[in-house]
């Protein structure tokens, strides 16, 4: 996933990039805080209860929601389950290979999951069928299809869009106490729309939505997830560099502003909030 170019080329490219950034521009012509075009298509997989294909520039990912009846975790008998997983497919770049997920893929999956879960996007207390015995388990799996940087945001938007548009079957409890699936559908109980905003620090500049090339030279990465009320709900710093307290605060301000823009896009394409 992180194949490096030759060291000399990498350093030259980084020097060029820093010079460009000092003028407030990126190599692809974007401003420092601009996203690449975000394209979202929902309901692309008919057999899944919800699905979304998201591209940010050349990065493409696809997420699918499956709902099953399961037993609750012993420590949360009054809550349904929400499990988000992410995989980087071997077809996604020349540097990814089949096999167990590496640490980058595990971090990606866990950070995406954390953002959705910590924001309390889904009201899990409404997914209980029989208290302590039967609950709905919502599985969201997101696959990386084509890599060009910023997988954290692309994966997160796909998961959010798939959950917002999911049609889940209704269930009822029979006289004998069995769970019966009805031929009726409903939406998931949504409480908020969490938006992930990932920034890269290159030199002393923070940029939003890094491309693969920018990720190759970045010193540090920071992902912040913002809910509909403008609160922070998850975060993760990555890579072997560091950030000052001021840079973290700036990252927060950027994330709050950018999250509003992206939330509007997601609301528009998913029709969320409309009757």
């Amino acid at each position: 996933m992180m194949a490096k170019k030759s060291m000399v080329v990498e350093r030259l490219r980084k020097a060029q990039m820093i010079e460009c950034l000092s003028k407030g521009k990126r190599l692809d012509g974007r401003g420092l805080l601009d996203y690449r075009p975000i394209v979202i298509n929902t309901e692309v997989i008919e057999k899944a209860e919800g699905s979304a294909k998201v591209s940010i520039g050349n990065t493409q990912v696809i997420a699918g929601v499956k709902v099953e009846v399961d037993e609750p975790f012993p420590d949360t008998p009054n809550e349904g389950l929400l499990i988000v997983n992410a995989e980087v497919l071997p077809l996604a770049s020349p540097y990814t290979e089949p096999g167990p997920p590496d640490e980058d893929a595990i971090e990606l999956a866990r950070v995406v999951d954390r953002g959705i879960r910590a924001s309390e996007m889904i009201d899990l207390s409404k997914l209980v069928l029989i208290e302590g015995e039967k609950v709905l388990a919502v599985y969201v799996d997101v696959n990386m299809l084509d890599l060009d940087g910023n997988l954290f945001d692309a994966a997160s938007y796909a998961v959010v869009s798939a959950l917002l548009t999911a049609r889940i079957p209704k269930f009822t409890i029979s006289d004998k106490g069995k769970v019966v699936k009805l031929n009726e559908f409903t939406k998931l109980p949504i409480k908020t729309i969490p938006i992930s905003v990932t920034m890269a620090k290159i030199g002393d500049t923070l940029i939003v939505d890094p491309t693969y090339e920018e990720e190759l030279v970045m010193d540090a990465r920071v992902t912040l997830v913002i809910d509909s009320d403008g609160n922070l709900c998850a975060g993760q710093k990555g890579c072997s560099g560091a950030l000052s307290f001021e840079q973290i605060k700036l990252a927060c301000e950027n994330a709050i502003v950018k999250s509003k823009e992206v939330r509007e896009i997601i609301k528009r394409v998913t029709g969320y909030g409309e009757a």
Partner: protein, 242 residues
């Protein structure tokens, strides 16, 4: 849900909101390692060992311009309430990665090209905040190993419990609290090397939590320093920081 902060503002273990648990750091606890340190933070008991700089195996992983830092955070099966399988979990893989990335900014790896530095962290008993305690221990062990460093790295967690921002969460607060935010910092350079957040904070709470974590780190840093001074100069008298 039980109350985690009582009417006097005290927490389940009797601490104030901005108080650390008892903390003890010891340097040079393992004979074989090039550097080692143990830390006790509340009920956390953690050992960190450093091996290297040494030859890299497999050879193709060697970097021509710098040392390869590798890090393993591992929890012993008996370290938790219910036995933890000794196989590395996804959580441990992620924590190993973020710990490595928290230590790397402090190390001058360019001084040791074509070598590896291995950091092994074993959590013998886990209480809340084991990753940040691990970072504190590991950076002390790296200093003990004589690796060239820009600064020590000090870790501390903050969080939100019963609606209040609190320092250094214990196990119960970690599991039942609303927010956990582990931080690691190079204090002399004002550089944050680890930052994670799980749970909802307003921007104002976030700033307050960050500042509280910083104060916690400053206290822990003094204990790190004293532990190194004790091993190398035979006294634990703090030497004033310029």
């Amino acid at each position: 849900m039980r109350k985690l902060i009582d009417e006097n503002g005290l927490r389940v273990d009797g601490r104030r909101v901005d108080e650390l648990r008892p903390i003890k750091i010891e340097v040079g606890v393992l004979k074989n390692a090039n550097g080692s340190a143990s830390i006790e933070l509340g009920k956390n008991k953690i050992i960190a060992a450093v091996y290297g700089p040494k030859e890299v195996h497999p050879k193709h992983m060697a970097r021509p311009d710098r040392s390869l830092l590798r890090c393993r955070y591992h929890m012993s099966p008996f370290s938790t309430e219910t036995r933890k399988s000794p196989a590395p979990s996804r959580r441990e893989v992620e924590i190993s990665k973020v710990i490595r990335e928290a230590l790397e900014p402090a190390l001058i790896l360019e001084d040791y090209p074509r070598t590896a530095i291995d950091v092994y962290i074993e959590v013998l008993q886990a209480d809340g905040g084991s990753r940040v305690a691990s970072i504190t221990a590991a950076s002390t062990a790296l200093a003990d190993a004589g690796i060239n460093m820009r600064d020590l790295v000090t870790g501390c967690a903050v969080g939100k419990v019963d609606g209040q921002i609190v320092l250094d969460l214990n196990d119960i607060e970690d599991k039942e609290g609303e927010v956990d935010m582990p931080i690691a910092i190079m204090l002399n350079l004002n550089q944050i090397t680890l930052f994670q957040l799980e749970g909802i904070l307003t921007p104002e709470e976030f700033k307050k939590a960050f500042e509280m974590a910083l104060e916690g780190c400053k206290k822990i840093y003094q204990i790190q320093r004293e532990a190194l001074i004790k091993k190398y100069f035979g006294s634990s008298e703090p030497i004033p920081v310029e």
